[in-house]
Structure formats: structure tokens, C-alpha cells
């Protein structure tokens, strides 16, 4: 079974540009999450999708960030316009419906996308 995949693995852009990160969850996982770690800080929750619906977006830092999950499969996270403080590693994770056995805090993470804003 393929794990969570993320694309690209690295992205270097200039301040003011737009970047779109993609996450493909484990097949069949209804829950999809975005997290990020900015330099020197802890991994922070951004938002949670259940299928195509945003369940919790309390961690989104501001309206420059837009996450979508059309069709309930893969998700994109767009940063527009990017600022210097957006640099960091963006992780995507997915989990099963709890009725399938796993608890909600059993999440499967992708390798992350390292974003550098110059």
C-alpha cells in the first residue's frame, strides 16, 4: 500500500510569488491534514479535511493560505502571495474513518515539502 505522498519535495520561490503544494493521501483515507514546521518551531496543525469538507481550519495562519480537496481525494495548499515567514516544512497526513479501527490521533504522514521563500 502506498503511503502519503507530497509534491514537490522542495520549492524555492521569491517573496510575493505563488506556490501550490500537493498531497495525495493513502487510498481510502477520508481524513486529510496539513501541518507545518517553520524554522526552529514545533510542528503546528493547519487544517483538517473530511473528504472534501473542511472540518477544522483553526490553524491556518491567514488568508494567504488556501487549501482545497476537490473530490475528496488529493489536496492542494496554495500560498499566495508567499512571505518570508512562510518558509518551513509542510507536512500532509491522512487517517482512516475511526469506524475502520484507527483512532483519529493515528495519522500517517508524508515526507513533507520544504518551502523556502527568498
Amino acid at each position: 500500500e502506498a503511503g502519503v505522498t507530497q509534491f514537490p519535495s522542495h520549492s524555492v520561490i521569491e517573496k510575493g510569488q505563488t506556490v501550490t503544494l500537493r498531497c495525495d493521501p493513502i487510498s481510502g483515507h477520508d481524513n486529510l491534514y496539513w501541518y507545518r514546521r517553520v524554522m526552529g518551531k514545533e510542528i503546528k496543525f493547519l487544517l483538517h479535511f473530511v473528504k472534501e469538507s473542511k472540518q477544522d481550519e483553526s490553524g491556518m495562519p491567514n488568508n494567504r493560505f488556501l487549501a482545497e480537496r476537490t473530490g475528496g481525494t488529493y489536496s492542494t495548499l496554495k500560498v499566495q502571495p508567499a512571505e518570508l515567514e512562510d518558509s518551513g516544512v509542510y507536512f500532509c497526513a491522512s487517517s482512516q474513518d475511526p469506524r475502520a479501527g484507527d483512532r483519529p490521533d493515528t495519522q500517517y504522514f508524508g515526507p513533507g515539502t520544504r518551502l523556502t521563500v527568498l
Binding site: I43, S58, C92, D105, Q107, P111
Partner: protein
């Protein structure tokens, strides 16, 4: 959500047993304790989860005393490849939001 406290770093040698303790004094009745492992340039990986007493799987054991205010992750006979950051998280069943602390950087030496 309960806050956790764990050592910033630990050193060990190959073949030793390593125990990493996590404090979670404000744990709630419905909270579970979950440990994740993270290697450099990878995302966190779920390794073990428990509610009380002892849980063991092929990777580690988790010991939780009766008051549940702390837990200990035990890694038997570590190898160099166990060098990683280990995160202790506490969460209730209704939440999907994982809250990561600083984790414990375990460095295993030959």
C-alpha cells in the same frame, strides 16, 4: 489538550535499552497517549499508543502508571537507525488535531 513535557535530548549506545519519559499532568479521562518517531527529512511516524498499564508492539513498549500523569516509551536494544526525534502526544478521541511539542532527540552511538 494536555501539554506534555519530555527531555530535549538523550544519548545512548547500540544494544542498550532506552526509556524516554513524558509528563502529562493534565491528562483528561478520555485522552490516549501516542508516540511518534521522526527521522530527518521525513514526516512523523506513529509507533505506539496506549491508555493505561502496558502496551507492546514490534517496535516499542509503552508503560503508563495508574495515575496516567506520565508515560515511558521503551526501545529495546537500540541501533544506530533508531536515532530520531520522539514525540509524546496526548489527545482525546474526539479530536483530530495533533499537538506536537519539542520532542526528544535520541542519538544512538556505536
Amino acid at each position: 489538550l494536555a501539554k506534555t513535557t519530555q527531555p530535549i535530548s538523550m544519548d545512548s549506545y547500540e544494544g542498550q535499552e532506552v526509556n524516554i519519559t513524558c509528563s502529562h499532568n493534565n491528562i483528561a479521562t478520555n485522552d490516549y497517549i501516542t508516540w511518534y518517531q521522526q527521522f530527518p527529512s521525513q514526516g512523523p511516524r506513529f509507533i505506539i499508543q496506549g491508555y493505561k498499564t502496558k502496551v507492546t508492539n514490534e517496535v516499542a513498549s509503552l508503560f503508563i502508571p495508574a495515575d496516567r500523569k506520565s508515560s515511558t516509551l521503551s526501545l529495546p536494544r537500540v541501533s544506530l537507525s533508531d536515532t530520531a526525534v520522539y514525540y509524546c502526544l496526548v489527545a482525546g478521541g474526539a479530536t483530530n488535531k495533533l499537538i506536537f511539542g519539542t520532542g526528544t532527540l535520541l542519538a544512538v552511538q556505536p
